[in-house]
């Protein structure tokens, strides 16, 4: 059932021409950024080589690239998650799911996983481009792996937050603005807080991603993402249930 709902979500997304257009445009942006980054690295490489312990291509090309993708996903995710439940409300298609033999958990997980798969597909070209560097040089696989895990957890947390905000409203546009405001707000609070022990650093997904980005796999960061995602999924389930209670 969960897979069925996820597949329906993907099918609806890919019937829209705009999805394909944005998909293509993003691949172009990713490739452009990758090449620019690579070119900058090649220019300074002779000087870097004279250092005692020169930084490799992974830390100079891959890590900043992952960081940029994380920022881009922060802006993009609300544009896609806005439709998840708000549009079902607006088009009055929710009764189809509510009167079908499945629970709110199925609906929420189906929508969450469908969107997550879509966003992974959207950014899948980035690791592929980066791994293509392995043809010519040695990559730091540990750093790559920690970035990939971090990006996956980060995307999941963005999606869960967007899904919840989409469940709060009837208007997809309001859901998009709300989710974007929440994500950008958390990010700005994080980079604006100067004290190193400020709580804003602890609750910002992008702040938590920095450790992964630097190649540091910290179980408390991973737990944060799991909890963040879980809490918003539970809140979404609750919201859908309240839908039946309060109408």
């Amino acid at each position: 059932m969960i897979r069925l709902i996820a597949m329906r979500e993907l099918r609806s997304l890919f019937t829209l021409p705009s999805t394909w257009l944005i998909f293509a445009a993003l691949q172009f942006v990713f490739a452009w950024f990758f090449l620019a980054r690579l070119e900058a690295f090649l220019e300074v490489q002779p000087q870097l080589a004279q250092l005692a312990n020169p930084p490799g291509v992974t830390i100079t090309v891959a890590a900043p690239m992952f960081n940029t993708i994380a920022l881009l996903l922060m802006m993009l995710t609300p544009m896609y998650t806005m439709r998840l439940i708000a549009e079902e409300r607006r088009n009055q298609t929710l009764p189809l799911l509510l009167s079908a033999p499945l629970s709110e958990l199925h609906i929420v997980l189906g929508k969450f996983l469908g969107m997550l798969v879509f966003l992974i597909a959207l950014s899948a070209s980035v690791p592929l481009m980066l791994y293509s560097l392995a043809l010519g040089t040695e990559l730091d696989h540990g750093l790559m792996l920690s970035n990939l895990i971090g990006l996956l957890l980060l995307t999941a947390s963005f999606t869960a937050l967007g899904l919840y905000i989409s469940a709060l409203t009837v208007q997809p546009v309001i859901a998009a603005i709300g989710a974007l405001a929440a994500l950008v707000g958390l990010w700005l609070a994080d980079i604006g807080a100067s004290a190193p022990d400020s709580p804003w650093h602890a609750i910002s997904p992008l702040g938590r991603f920095q450790n992964f980005n630097a190649g540091l796999l910290d179980s408390s960061d991973a737990m944060f993402f799991v909890l963040f995602t879980g809490v918003f999924l539970l809140l979404t389930i609750r919201r859908l249930h309240n839908n039946r209670t309060y109408g």
């Binding site: 609806s12 088009n91 929710l94 009167s99 079908a100 033999p101």
Partner: protein, 260 residues
């Protein structure tokens, strides 16, 4: 046919529902038997749609209970909903999908196994006259066809209970005739509840009528009995108006009495 009474497919007891401080549904009790078409008749805003939402599990009642084919809808919603097909007031269509994809989704959602989806789809499309347009995108269809897709979605899994909220609204006369004969046919094998404010629809379709006003059921009998209401065989329409007006007058009298 056996001489025992046909099995009860839906039984709702003492449903109440409020929105905020306003009580919308008061003590509504309904039963429906297999092979029966029940018409829920009433003015706009009488609470027909709210009742149907409760019968299909889209809305929880504040009190009362509902059994679908003997299964408690509130305690075991997943099991009970297997037997339900529901067409809400606005057909719940994913307009960007093709008719076939949408109906496949609806069938799988109701638990039809992958191997049996094609047969279920073919039957539902044949019943609703959708054979020729399976490949079309729903958004490009006329309102009448969209309504038919909505009905197909409600019957694709051959449910025992079919709940149709104003199924013929917005259709042209030929389509109305087709849909009515379809509902008649569905009423033979399953049981159907439909809401309407068209009396002609009740007359041509329903075995039994429940009249609803201001959230209460004020009259329930066979269609034939409604036509003969008060011993004066008249037109259904006049009898319906007489019943609702009598009720309004009675209500006015009680509330005037309360005031003093």
């Amino acid at each position: 046919m056996s001489d025992t009474a046909p099995e009860i497919t839906i039984s709702a007891r003492k449903l109440t529902r409020r929105f905020g401080n306003q009580k919308i549904i008061h003590d509504v009790s309904l039963t429906l038997r297999r092979g029966e078409v029940l018409g829920l008749l009433g003015h706009n805003g009488a609470g027909k749609s709210t009742t149907m939402q409760m019968l299909t599990g889209c809305l929880l009642p504040d009190s009362g209970d509902i059994e679908v084919c003997g299964i408690d809808l509130l305690r075991q919603p997943i099991l009970a909903k297997m037997h339900l097909g529901y067409l809400p007031e606005t057909p719940p269509l994913y307009r960007e999908l093709r008719v076939d994809d949408y109906l496949t989704f609806a069938a799988r959602l109701r638990g039809i196994k992958n191997g049996k989806v094609a047969a279920a789809l073919a039957q539902a499309k044949q019943r609703c006259g959708l054979e020729a347009i399976g490949g079309k995108i729903i958004a490009t269809l006329s309102k009448g066809y969209q309504q038919r897709v909505g009905i197909a979605q409600a019957i694709v899994h051959n449910p025992e209970v079919i709940v149709l909220d104003e199924p013929t609204v917005g259709l042209d006369p030929a389509q109305i005739r087709d849909i009515r004969s379809l509902i008649r046919e569905l009423g033979d094998s399953s049981s159907v509840i439909l809401s309407t404010h068209l009396l002609g629809e009740v007359e041509s379709l329903c075995d039994r009528v429940e009249i609803m006003q201001k959230g209460r059921l004020i009259y329930g009998d066979t269609t034939a009995a409604l036509a003969n209401y008060g011993g004066e065989p008249g037109r259904l329409e006049e009898n319906f108006i007489r019943i609702t007006e009598r009720e309004t007058a009675a209500n006015a009298a009680t509330s005037a009495g309360d005031g003093k």
